[in-house]
């Protein structure tokens, strides 16, 4: 009887204990890059998780129950936009039953709204052009100067959801931008000797990086986005690579190496596997690490070539 009393009392007490401390804001992002920036800006006030791993292709995911579950608990949902995640994010949002993160709510952030996209199609698009993105190229996080804009938008969202921590978040964001801008100078200096280097990439995902760091992308392994290369296209590509003396074939880890290896044999260009995201390779834990790694790999590969 005594035990029953104590136990029931404890349980009853637990029923009414409401945590008075503020739990960190639960943030869910679609990519690890966004998660990394959220950590820089949000610091101890946020707990952030990415729905994709850095080694995964964010275009093609399924709305799995595990993703739905994470989204159902999130206070803030952040995506890259521009059609990158259109194959799965809408389905996750509908199934998440979370009014806080529905498009239009304070807890939903499409980071692309303040970004100036490249390669917006000027003519009407249709699927004969492959997996074309009608709103522009979505791989904009690979231009570090867009990182500043991303951090501003994330800070704004966080401040509207955590008004008490506005000052601290603002400070974090400004500090991050300062450190980051300094790092951008370093990376640009590192890449300067190789400005104008001609490369080809597997998928049209390096436009923003190339523009910022002076690489010249002369062709793609895919004749159209998402379409596998045909022998005719490969022939043309090999001829182009020889003509332009392309030095590198840049590809993401989730593509198959067989065609790039073939091109390398035919033209002497080197295959370079580069991760497009934080977490895409060992040691890339922050947004800083990503560009450190990319510029380091590129400079090493390009220096050997010449």
């Amino acid at each position: 009887m005594m035990i029953k009393a104590i136990v029931s009392v404890f349980i009853g007490g637990l029923l009414f204990v409401n945590p008075a401390w503020a739990a960190p804001l639960q943030v869910v992002t679609t990519t690890e890059d966004l998660a990394a920036i959220v950590r820089e800006v949000g610091g101890p006030f946020v707990e952030v998780e990415s729905q994709t791993r850095g080694t995964q292709d964010p275009h093609f995911l399924e709305a799995r129950p595990s993703l739905i579950l994470k989204a159902s608990r999130a206070d803030l949902f952040i995506e890259i936009g521009l059609g990158l995640e259109v194959g799965w994010t809408p389905a996750v949002l509908v199934a998440a039953r979370n009014p806080a993160i529905q498009p239009g709510a304070l807890g939903y952030l499409d980071v692309s709204r303040d970004i100036k996209p490249l390669e917006i199609p000027s003519a009407p698009v249709d699927r004969s052009q492959g997996d074309v993105h009608p709103l522009g190229n979505p791989h904009y996080w690979l231009d570090p100067e867009n990182g500043t804009i991303i951090s501003q938008e994330i800070a704004r969202s966080l401040m509207s959801l955590l008004p008490d921590q506005s000052q601290a978040i603002d400070r974090n964001q400004k500090e991050f931008v300062e450190r980051f801008n300094a790092a951008i100078v370093l990376w640009k200096t590192r890449m300067k000797p190789y400005e104008g280097a001609k490369v080809i990439t597997y998928h049209n995902s390096w436009t923003y990086f190339a523009r910022r760091f002076g690489l010249d992308v002369v062709g793609y392994v895919e004749p159209k986005p998402g379409v596998a290369p045909s022998p005719a296209h490969l022939n043309q590509l090999i001829a182009l690579m020889k003509q332009e003396k392309a030095k590198l074939i840049i590809m993401e880890p989730y593509f198959s190496r067989s065609i790039p290896d073939l091109l390398s044999r035919e033209t002497g260009a080197k295959v370079l596997v580069l991760p497009p995201s934080v977490g895409g390779a060992e040691g890339i834990k922050t947004y800083f690490d990503l560009f450190d790694y990319l510029t380091d790999q590129l400079t090493t590969a390009l220096s050997k070539g010449s």
Partner: protein, 279 residues
Amino acid sequence: MLEMLSIPFMRQAVLAGLILAAMLAYLGIHVVRRRIVFVDLAIAQLSAVGVALAMLLDQDPIGFSLVFTMVGAAFLSLPAYEQRIPQEAIMGIVYAVASAVSILIIAKMPHGEADILNLFFGNILAVTDGQIGLMALTFGSVGLVHLIFAKRLMPIPVPTESGSTFLFKAMSWNLLFYLTLAVVIAVAIRTAGVLLVFSDLIIPAAVALLFAERLRPLVLLSAATGVLSNLAGLYASYRFDFPSGPSIVASLGVFLALAMIGKSVALTIFSRSDKSGPK
């Protein structure tokens, strides 16, 4: 009596009390008739385990305890060992083990203390609008289910002989009943606490069973008893400055006592006037 209702939290407590009394009174008829009086104790303790786990993992207590309770109730609905081990023993074991588990969980928690004595009987005075809404929603749904499937749920299920040709013959309706009971208990515990839920279930039903036999009069009488004693208990706690939960339980007890006395008096009077015709 009416000035009590001018205070907002008393109004909410009365409303919560009425909703609880009505729902539990009806389910109490089932529970007593099916002779599973100790089941709701076991179920209540299971839902407590669910709440403890929720607190430990920093999750939503209602959701956790709902699922836990429903799973537990589903297991309890299985008639498998009924012939060998009496049901009361099984309920007792479940209660003991669940209590032990919840103690173990509390032991792991960094902060588990709260208003201890006050909350043994729940804290109906602290009920929020959200809780009232949730109770109304879930009890309404459970009531609807019972209304629609009344025919299936009412007759007392006889323990099935082994070897029925179809695996889910009568078990599905038994299971449905246990699940609805689990939902109601899990939600009610939040406001009323273990002992008040138990009392609200059993005592009004007992009073009703003293005087009626058919379903409709039973339910009406049980609900009336529950509602009146909840009101009386709340009024007593307001007037005489007693904690609310124990007051309600006490008033339930008083009603039962009065009912039992009334019944024996009536029996004596009626048996004496047996030959003198109807009154």
